[in-house]
């Protein structure tokens, strides 16, 4: 009995106020503290009165309902359930050294306690010393307490843990007063001689590695730093967030710590000096208790980061090289024009005014009037302009017909029959020309073209007969001549301009 009193006094003096408060709280969980979950400190008198007025059973029941009766109603509706209490047993410790005991307790209404009750092994039920476990500042629901060294200077301890919720439901227990958990306390040197038993028992709290959200990068520019971002979310905190990277083909990864840039966002930058060739990387992180690693990517399945030369990326679409690219450019051009007017002149074709229609970006159709010194006519054709460059090569195919022309302007003929024939010349033509167009295919372009033209005409047999008769040297002769075909292929050239207006 004397020893028991000494034990209680020693514990009370070492735990100072906290210990005293813990004694009170263990007896009667009362009004919770809204900020900490700790109950308000009730008076001993009140506690004693409560005990005296109740039987053992009713006293326990009263304990359970006491917080609800003594405290204002909790903000969360009472779930009627005690807290969920988990605890990793502590089986050994070091004599004369503080003994850390931890537990994890959660409840929707908030947890009151938990209370560690500890006694020297062999003492009676009244020998327990209650100590309030302190909540973790990092991991919600984790609680721990160091049993003071003054209490561990014995061969063995026994303890149990109780926890209530703020509404007074409980207690949930790990061990019990009747069946406490035994802790063997050995001398420190024994512990040193027995590596299997750690000198300091650390209970690893439950937890989980953080969740990683990362949009993998696939390419970056050579010689430019690469910023890798990730969102790391963990109930038990985040630590050790790194980007592991290596050059493709290397075996070893280099470690690049990630820094928190606010909230759950972390970043790391692979230096420019490292972006010389393709890279591989992954992201990993642990929680505050070393759970993990959580990974995005993996050492054997890293993300491939292709390192590109800056030049292609620096020169976007307008590179005027590939026809395909030009097609895309012109087709996507919001100001793409399809209707215009063309005016040209040349030899031997003469001049013309044509309407231009561009059904495809590389194809123009033209049709209109033609005029040369012989007369008027009509013509039509197509132009292939397979680019939209400042100087664009073209292939032009035209055909047309000159009507009722007068060719006598080009020849010196006095014979009236010959003049009569040439004065009503008609001909059909077709031209093929290569050209260069200067300017914009969408608006205005000036062009030069050269090629060949095929001319075809028919001379009237009657006219030729008349000519032959006129030159007949013998009255006994009679000429009868059929229609003659006149054809020619000749070089041609032209210049002109196109204006697209719509």
């Amino acid at each position: 009995m004397h020893l028991r009193k000494l034990f209680v006094v020693a514990a009370a003096s070492l735990c100072v106020g906290a210990g005293a408060m813990a004694q009170t709280d263990a007896a009667t969980p009362a009004q919770p503290d809204a900020s900490t979950g700790a109950p308000a400190k009730p008076s001993k008198k009140k506690k004693k009165n409560g005990r005296k007025k109740s039987s053992k059973k009713s006293s326990r029941k009263k304990k359970s309902s006491a917080p609800a009766a003594a405290a204002p109603a909790p903000e969360v509706p009472d779930d009627g359930e005690p807290p969920q209490l988990t605890h990793q047993l502590v089986a050994a410790g070091v004599r004369g050294k503080p003994l850390t005991i931890a537990a994890h307790a959660i409840d929707a209404n908030g947890v009151f306690g938990p209370i560690l009750s500890v006694r020297k092994k062999g003492l009676g039920a009244g020998g327990y010393v209650p100590i309030k476990m302190a909540p973790s500042k990092i991991v919600p629901g984790d609680y721990s307490v160091d049993v003071p060294a003054a209490l561990t200077n014995v061969d063995a301890l026994e303890y149990y843990i109780e926890a209530w919720d703020i509404a007074g439901n409980g207690p949930a227990r790990a061990g019990s007063a009747d069946q406490p958990i035994a802790v063997t306390l050995d001398e420190e040197k024994k512990v040193a001689a027995t590596p299997a038993i750690p000198t300091t028992v650390t209970i690893k709290p439950k937890g989980a590695p953080p969740a990683i959200t990362h949009a993998a990068l696939t390419q970056a520019l050579k010689g430019k730093p690469v910023e890798i971002n990730a969102r790391l979310v963990g109930d038990t905190g985040v630590q050790g967030a790194v980007v592991m990277f290596r050059h493709a083909g290397d075996k070893e990864y280099k470690t690049l710590p990630m820094g928190n840039i606010g909230g759950d966002d972390y970043t790391a930058t692979i230096p420019a000096a490292m972006t010389t060739s393709d890279l591989e990387y992954y992201v990993e992180a642990f929680d505050q208790y070393g759970n993990g690693p959580a990974r995005s990517g993996a050492p054997n399945v890293p993300y491939a980061l292709r390192i590109m030369d800056p030049a292609p990326a620096a020169v976007p679409a307008p590179a005027p090289v590939a026809l395909g690219a030009q097609k895309r450019t012109l087709d996507e051009e919001p100001e793409r024009t399809i209707i215009g007017l063309g005016i040209d002149g040349g030899a031997p074709g003469g001049g013309g005014v044509t309407l231009l229609v561009r059904p495809l970006w590389w194809l123009r159709l033209n049709g209109g009037l033609a005029y040369n010194a012989i007369g008027f006519g009509y013509r039509g054709g197509i132009t292939l302009a397979p680019a939209d460059w400042a100087v664009t090569p073209t292939l032009n195919l035209d055909a047309g017909r000159y009507l009722s022309g007068d060719m006598t302007k080009f020849v010196t003929i006095s014979d009236p029959t010959e003049r009569a024939m040439l004065s009503k010349t008609t001909y059909t033509f077709a031209t093929a020309q290569l050209g260069l167009e200067f300017g914009s295919q969408r608006r205005f372009s000036f062009y030069l073209r050269g090629g060949v033209t095929y001319v075809f005409s028919t001379l009237s047999g009657a006219d030729i007969t008349a000519i032959a008769a006129a030159h007949n040297g013998d009255p006994n002769n009679t000429f009868t001549v059929g229609d003659a075909k006149v054809s020619a292929i000749a070089p041609c050239a032209s210049l002109g301009f196109n204006i697209f207006v719509y």
Partner: protein
């Protein structure tokens, strides 16, 4: 070097430049006797057919345009051909009889008016001929098959005429006769550039 090839390729079509006139049907009809008079005796055994006492008869084409073997046309040279496709002899009057007894007849180009093409070394050119066994019996007209001879080289560049001669076998029409000789020709004049 590559540029030269491209330029040469671009200029290649110019090598095919030309101007051409072509008439497949140029017919000239010539009256042997120079009028309505029947100058040919009837029932005459045929050999060299003399017309108005001449071994040959002259067809004057006149100073026709293009009827020159070659002539310059700007930077180009105009070459002309006048191919004789065939010839025909048609009696002017059926009262003269017919050509049923004509066995063969040949139209020849003679170098001179006095040439007898039947003589060896006469240097005549057969232009067209008729063979009754080959072509069938003629009646009022005889169609002579051409030998694709180019008449241009036989047309005098100064007189614009050609000397022609008939050589025949068999017997002519029973009465005096006159006939129109026609020649069906194809004219082609072409100037190549350059």
């Amino acid at each position: 070097m590559r540029n030269l090839k491209i330029i040469a390729l671009l200029l290649l079509p110019l090598l095919g430049c030309f101007a051409q006139i072509e008439d497949q049907s140029v017919a000239l009809s010539h009256n042997l006797c120079g009028g309505a008079t029947n100058c040919m005796p009837g029932a005459l055994p045929l050999g060299l057919i003399q017309i108005s006492g001449q071994n040959t008869f002259t067809v004057n084409f006149g100073d026709q345009p293009l009827l020159q073997p070659s002539s310059s046309l700007g930077p180009a040279t105009l070459n002309t051909s006048l191919i004789l496709n065939g010839a025909g002899v048609r009696l002017q009057s059926s009262a003269s009889g017919d050509f049923k007894n004509v066995a063969t007849i040949s139209l020849l180009a003679a170098p001179a008016a006095t040439t007898d093409c039947s003589a060896s070394g006469s240097n005549c050119t057969l232009l067209a001929d008729y063979d009754r066994n080959r072509d069938g019996t003629a009646d009022q007209s005889i169609a002579l098959r051409g030998h694709d001879v180019d008449l241009i080289s036989y047309i005098s560049t100064t007189s614009h005429s050609v000397q022609l001669q008939f050589q025949a076998t068999g017997t002519g029409p029973g009465n005096t006769w006159n006939a129109d000789v026609s020649m069906d020709m194809a004219l082609k004049a072409r100037a190549n550039f350059p």
